[in-house]
């Protein structure tokens, strides 16, 4: 019973990483841009966040540094893709490769570094409820911020004018342009915002989730976050749900190992990646379902007057 509560707690925590990054990518994709550089941005942000916490001791400063790193890299990506019309897939891939290389290079001296001891979080009263308290109310504040972010994003995308403009830019940039909206500037803003969220997720990984720095520590979470947007058919609430589900799959491996299940650990480590493939297959099986939900101009460049 108690171990189930801990499993739920761990899944929510792991899901939070995926959800924050995936919501960022969702903003990008709603504006018509696919950023395959998520993994690279998260790696650089993880390092930036970790290094900041090592030097300042403040986790919040680490989050800010991570967001700044993510936003900066995303801005470079955006400038190339939106103003120079480079191929989105290739440029995103370049960002992932560069981010992996750069973070490994710049992070060598931080490999042995340690972070200050972290305080335990618990919501007064609620945390004392048996089972539920352990499962839901003893999390880092970021877990609740992330859940709140989903509602914020739903409100922004579907209830505000700015959100409508953002979506129109992803559906039909030509129409948005004809109506006088600065399509490229809006897309750049969306890309930078998405990068900042990926950066926040990266910094959360290296400062809270697994407080250390190792080369390549994001281990595909950026790519899984990309798959999640498709899995969620581009709906914020489903992104959160999917992220928690994947968090559960990731955590189940440790749970099973703890229970002494006799499967080689490598096959358990494989699970989140296999699960991503299975989920992609299930969701993509029906092409119409994808086509109806996907932003119509996703991945297509737009250059006014061309």
């Amino acid at each position: 019973m108690e171990s189930t509560a801990l499993l739920i707690a761990a899944s929510l925590n792991a899901g939070t990483v995926l959800a924050i990054a995936s919501l960022g990518l969702l903003i990008n994709e709603k504006a018509g841009i696919v950023n395959l550089g998520a993994e690279g941005m998260m790696l650089c942000a993880a390092l930036a966040g970790f290094a900041t916490v090592v030097h300042t001791g403040s986790t919040v400063a680490g989050f800010v540094a991570g967001m700044a790193a993510g936003a900066l890299l995303a801005a470079i990506f955006g400038a190339l893709v939106i103003w120079l019309n480079t191929n989105q897939y290739a440029t995103g891939l370049a960002l992932s490769l560069f981010g992996g290389g750069f973070s490994a290079f710049a992070g060598t001296s931080y490999v042995q570094a340690k972070l200050p001891e972290q305080s335990q979080f618990a919501i007064p009263l609620l945390a004392d409820i048996p089972f539920i308290g352990n499962a839901l109310f003893k999390h880092h504040p970021m877990v609740y911020v992330c859940a709140g972010l989903v509602f914020g994003l739903i409100w922004f995308l579907y209830r505000t004018r700015a959100g409508l403009v953002l979506r129109s830019v992803g559906e039909s940039p030509e129409s948005a342009h004809a109506l006088g909206y600065p399509v490229r500037r809006i897309r750049l803003l969306a890309v930078v915002a998405g990068g900042a969220l990926c950066g926040l997720a990266g910094a959360y990984v290296s400062t809270v989730y697994t407080p250390l720095w190792v080369e390549g520590m994001i281990a595909g979470k950026g790519w899984i976050a990309l798959a999640l947007t498709t899995f969620a058919t581009w709906r914020p609430a489903r992104v959160l749900l999917g992220a928690y589900l994947f968090g559960g799959v990731t955590m189940l491996q440790f749970h099973l190992q703890g229970m002494g299940v006799n499967v080689p650990s490598q096959f358990l480590t494989m699970m989140p990646y296999v699960a991503t493939i299975v989920v992609l297959v299930l969701i993509s099986r029906n092409p119409t379902w994808i086509r109806v939900n996907m932003p119509a101009s996703i991945g297509k460049p737009f250059y006014p007057g061309s």
Binding site: L36, G40, I76, L80, W83, L84, N85, T86, N87, Y89, A90, T91, L93, A94, L95, L97, F98, G99, G100, G101, F102, A104, F105, T108, E215, A219, G220, W223, I224, L226, A227, T230, P264, Q266, F267, T269, M270, Y273, V274, T276, I277, L280, V281, S284, R285, P287, I290, Y303, S306
Partner: protein
């Protein structure tokens, strides 16, 4: 302000000049980086661009590293020209290496030289199998090949770990996670005394010719490229996009698997957790920098090999982390993509 103006025709001149300009930009950023880190930039450039070519031995090591990059990138060129985004070559390379090792491990002292083609064939089949999963899921279920092929890289790494930590671990290996060293009969024959260059280089060069003929002299290669450039035209012409998908993925998977086989039965000589060296990802950059053209890829593979060797030397000679290679690889691709804009657009000054 500066504006981009579409050229009436893509510029052929910039097609050639863009990779050179991208390299120049990467070098300039590299010089700035060296200076910022307090290292002598001249020494830095020497380590990357002179040391790897200054002697026959250095040149042969350059070829050893360039061979897998060249082979994988040739396959990827076919794939990318067909507009199929296989970015999981690293995984296909690994499974190729694993299949090849499986055959190589059966060899005993009495085994004949037939084992060499068997090892190579096993590698190719392993790579094709791994890429075939991506092709099947894309073809049958419409699953995005970028994400599937990439996820399979992580799966392949775990398969490798399972084998070297589990059933294939050398019982005499002091508990190190690696297989026993392969019998010498499985070693790819070397081309000359005193260097590690082996028949892999010849296979790679034959691959250059084969891919050139396939792309530019066969009907099937033509259909492949039309499908990549103009899917609607290809459909109208009756070219099967499913067939193109399978050809693209099986070719690139087979090539990556081949490279994996040549690597484990060549310079490495056993299966270890260090087989994944990022060649599969670097080869993506090699393919783009080489303009997805077999001859261009020869040059870019050599360049990328210089980056690898330069990175190792930078570690031993300049005290910089080896991962500086990854920084330059990423920068080169970024710079190339930016410079490629000049092929389709020209920069004009407009008020």
């Amino acid at each position: 302000m500066l504006r981009l103006e579409a050229r009436p025709q893509p510029s052929a001149r910039w097609g050639y000049a863009s990779p050179l300009l991208a390299l120049a930009i990467t070098v300039v950023i590299g010089v700035i980086l060296f200076a910022a880190l307090g290292k002598d930039p001249v020494r830095g450039l020497q380590v990357f661009f002179w040391e790897p070519i200054k002697s026959t031995y250095a040149l042969s090591e350059l070829m050893v590293k360039a061979t897998p990059l060249l082979i994988i990138a040739l396959g990827l060129a076919v794939c990318f020209r067909s507009n199929v985004w296989n970015i999981g070559a690293e995984g296909q390379y690994l499974i190729g290496a694993i299949f090849a090792s499986g055959v190589a491990l059966t060899a005993t002292k009495e085994t004949g030289a037939w084992i060499i083609p068997a090892v190579i064939l096993a590698g190719v089949l392993g790579g094709m199998l791994w890429a075939g999963i991506t092709a099947l899921l894309r073809d049958r279920f419409n699953a995005n090949e970028i994400l599937v092929s990439l996820m399979l890289v992580y799966v392949a790494i775990q398969v490798l770990n399972y084998l070297v930590y589990g059933p294939w671990k050398d019982p005499m290996g002091y508990n190190f996670p690696q297989t026993k060293t392969f019998e010498s009969v499985t070693q790819m024959p070397r081309l000359m005394q005193g260097s590690r260059v082996n028949i892999g280089l010849l296979i790679a060069l034959a691959g250059v010719a084969a891919v050139w003929v396939f792309l530019f002299r066969t009907y099937s290669g033509f259909a492949q490229q039309v499908g990549g450039l103009a899917p609607a035209a290809a459909r109208y012409a009756g070219f099967s996009s499913r067939k193109a998908l399978w050809i693209a993925l099986l070719t690139s998977g087979g090539a990556a698997g081949l490279a994996g086989a040549l690597e484990v039965a060549g310079p490495i000589g056993q299966l270890t957790p260090y087989v994944p060296a990022g060649y599969g990802f670097a080869a993506i950059i090699v393919a783009f920098v080489g303009r997805l053209h077999p001859v261009g890829i020869v040059f870019s593979a050599i360049l990328m090999s210089m980056f690898y060797i330069g990175g190792e030397l930078a570690q031993s000679r300049l005290g910089l982390p080896k991962s500086i290679t990854g920084v330059f690889q990423g920068l080169l691709l970024f710079a190339l993509l930016a410079c490629d804009t000049l092929i389709a657009y020209r920069v004009v000054w407009k008020k």
